[in-house]
């Protein structure tokens, strides 16, 4: 349970990264809280478009929260600091989706509102023609939150929706494969039942080496066998149907 009401300290124009680091270490708990909130929010966004149509209000509120955090982190300069740290071991302790955000292809010092979702739209338009099975390069990693968001909102065009769905599934599965099981379990050790789906899905995936889409989707059905989580309404017939659509597209 996090303590609320910690005062935020201002970083006054420290260009030196070391100095910024020192400043952050002085108040580690606020930044950790904020980072954890960001991670949690991204997990929630990923979970919400799995099987049932997502609650749009909830998704919008979570996305707005993510945007707020990113804006603040940009102002604080911590966004820049995390960028330079992204190749370190520390990044594995975070959800990989945060990694995706951190490996921005643009320099935040340009002054553009890079972490905001708005700037991803141009990338998305130009990259939409790219092969969806590309490995996680920096460019495509920047796509992930954009894909997730567009997948959440845009329920109207089935064709585009399927493409997005496949793309974001690609990214979620591929990136999750790279996680070491221990850090994932640590991350979720205190999470309550509402994360059960993701937990079981991850466990199921860790036990398989290389998975195609069909295999990945099959693990969705395991939660209903192992636990009566009423949120997971996966019917094997429906899953087959989803797989059929993905394979066809």
């Amino acid at each position: 349970m996090f303590v609320r009401g910690l005062k935020r300290k201002c970083f006054d124009g420290e260009e030196d990264i070391e100095g910024t680091l020192a400043g952050i270490k002085a108040i580690p708990s606020y930044n950790l809280q904020r980072q954890s909130l960001l991670d949690m929010s991204l997990v929630k966004l990923q979970l919400c478009h799995m099987l049932v149509e997502p609650n749009l209000c909830r998704s919008v509120l979570i996305a707005n929260t993510v945007r707020q955090i990113q804006e603040e982190m940009t102002q604080d300069g911590t966004w820049q600091m995390i960028n330079t740290q992204s190749t370190g071991q520390a990044s594995l302790d975070r959800l990989v989706s945060t990694d995706i955000l951190c490996r921005s292809s643009r320099d935040p010092a340009e002054g553009k509102h890079v972490p905001g979702y708005g700037t991803f739209s141009k990338d998305f338009e130009s990259d939409q023609a790219q092969d969806s099975s590309e490995t996680m390069s920096t460019a495509s990693s920047v796509q992930a939150p954009r894909n997730l968001q567009s997948n959440m909102w845009e329920m109207e065009t089935p064709q585009e929706n399927k493409g997005n769905f496949q793309k974001s599934l690609d990214q979620i599965f591929e990136t999750l494969e790279n996680k070491s099981p221990n850090s994932v379990e640590d991350l979720f050790s205190e999470v309550d039942n509402s994360y059960y789906d993701l937990d079981t899905m991850l466990t199921g995936m860790m036990s398989n080496t290389k998975m195609g889409h069909c295999d990945s989707l099959e693990t969705f059905s395991s939660p209903t066998n192992t636990a009566s989580n009423s949120n997971c309404k996966s019917d094997l017939n429906d899953l087959d149907h989803i797989v059929e659509i993905l394979v066809e597209s």
């Binding site: 349970m1 609320r4 909130l37 149509e53 749009l56 919008v60 329920m155």
Partner: protein
């Protein structure tokens, strides 16, 4: 009056409907509760797509203390689960809202809606049936015409009362997003249905067309930052309606000004308190319910921690703010983690607009008297379920020493949430939905 002052009203347990079984079948979870305009009927909808209507029994001179109990009148399956093959997504059969039409003849009419489809149901009684047909016998089998030697006139004979529910209209395929509200216009000829981004106006007689009157969908969906959370028609002015948003704003629109009411006539928003700002400020400001007062002079809104009353003539701040469970303010991070922060609580007025009621966690619900400024917390539980037992006020301990009858914040059961309540239009009778049980409370008869 009928006891609008808090100190005069003692609430008593009257009835509870639903299984005592501690295990909850998901389909039995009540998702909406609504009295009809006279209070004679009480309807509930559940996650399984069923509607159950209770009818108040006539008060008996022999048993004056049993003030009109509600008994099951009709049960029917309103909506079925569907699968949208284009999007590969399920469409839930859960009944989001029920709204009654005023009674115009012997039959009762109500609107019920799930995420996508609104239906008009007719509930009517049959207590006679024709007997003595010429061409078929009592079992319904056709008779051989050549064997008929005489003619008779069928007569109506009494039968056991049968209540039938028939779907009279189905209003489908008009909502891309999930319907959160339906509201019947005071002209009784039209109604509106609101989803996350659009509001449509329907005529009861026409099911293949609706007018779009509000559309907040941005051209570029990436720019979406706000959704519609609730909408309601003014009780008397058929051209006026309000809708609330996830950013804590309310817009009042006049349908006479334009066909598409994208420009509001009034905009209600309270300025943010900078001292209370956190990452959760926007989420807890999201309005989960909006209700006009019976008089039409005020609107009431519910957000995560408060209930607010607004005067239609003052847009810059509410005239009253009531704290529902402010002790949760320090727990917002946990409530975000377990998704409770997204719970949508409803709120209701009593018949005279003097008392407002809303639900909370741990099966608690709260009432606020607008005149005396007193409030009370009551609990819907099986332990307090002896007939005519007076409900004891409950108290949450926020810190320091916990008194004997108090409950600490950390002991609250967040899975027991009262999201849906209803107040009889003219009497002190309330219906409270606690997961899969419906509680009915009445004020103490002197």
């Amino acid at each position: 009056g009928f006891g609008s002052l808090m100190q005069d009203v003692l609430w008593c347990f009257s009835q509870v409907k639903g299984t005592i079984d501690p295990g909850v079948t998901e389909a039995d979870i009540i998702s909406t509760v609504e009295f009809n305009h006279t209070g004679e009927l009480l309807a509930t909808g559940d996650k399984g797509g069923r509607v159950v209507i209770f009818q108040r029994e006539q008060e008996s001179k022999n048993q004056p203390h049993r003030r009109g109990e509600y008994n099951v009148y009709s049960t029917f399956q309103s909506h079925e689960p569907e699968f949208d093959y284009l999007k590969s997504l399920e469409i839930e059969e859960k009944i989001n809202k029920i709204r009654w039409l005023p009674q115009q003849n012997a039959a009762y009419f109500l609107l019920s809606t799930n995420d996508k489809t609104v239906k008009l149901w007719k509930v009517s009684e049959r207590d006679k049936r024709p007997e003595g047909y010429n061409l078929k016998d009592e079992d319904g089998r056709l008779r051989d015409p050549s064997m008929i030697t005489m003619l008779r006139v069928p007569v109506l004979r009494p039968m056991d009362l049968m209540v039938e529910a028939t779907p009279r209209r189905v209003f489908a395929n008009a909502h891309t997003y999930h319907i959160n509200s339906i509201s019947i216009n005071s002209d009784y000829e039209t109604y509106m249905s609101a989803d996350d981004l659009r509001i449509n106006l329907w005529n009861f007689e026409i099911t293949n067309q609706s007018f779009n009157i509000v559309d907040i969908k941005p051209a570029n969906m990436e720019e979406l930052t706000e959704v519609i959370t609730a909408a309601e028609f003014h009780p008397h002015h058929c051209n006026t309606f309000v809708y609330s948003s996830s950013k804590g704003t309310i817009r009042l629109c006049d349908m006479r000004t334009a066909a598409l009411c994208d420009r509001h006539a009034k905009f209600f928003e309270e300025p943010e308190d900078p001292s209370n700002r956190s990452f959760f400020s926007e989420i807890i400001s999201s309005i989960s319910d909006v209700k006009f007062s019976h008089s039409g002079r005020y609107i009431m809104t519910r957000d995560y921690l408060t209930v607010k009353v607004w005067d239609l003539n003052m847009e810059n701040r509410p005239i009253e703010t009531y704290q529902v469970h402010d002790y949760l303010r320090s727990k917002l991070c946990s409530l975000y983690e377990n998704d409770c922060i997204f719970d949508k609580f409803e709120c209701v007025w009593n018949g005279s607009d003097s008392v407002i009621m809303t639900g909370s966690y741990n099966n608690f619900f709260r009432m606020f008297d607008r005149n005396t400024k007193r409030d009370v917390t009551l609990e819907a539980s099986r332990e307090n379920s002896k007939p005519r037992a007076i409900l004891k006020p409950r108290k949450v301990c926020v810190g320091g020493k916990r008194r004997k009858d108090e409950i600490s914040v950390d002991s609250l059961d967040f899975s027991k949430k009262i999201l849906h309540t209803a107040w009889h239009p003219s009497e002190n009778i309330i219906a409270v939905a606690a997961t899969n049980n419906l509680y009915i409370f009445q004020d103490k008869v002197n």
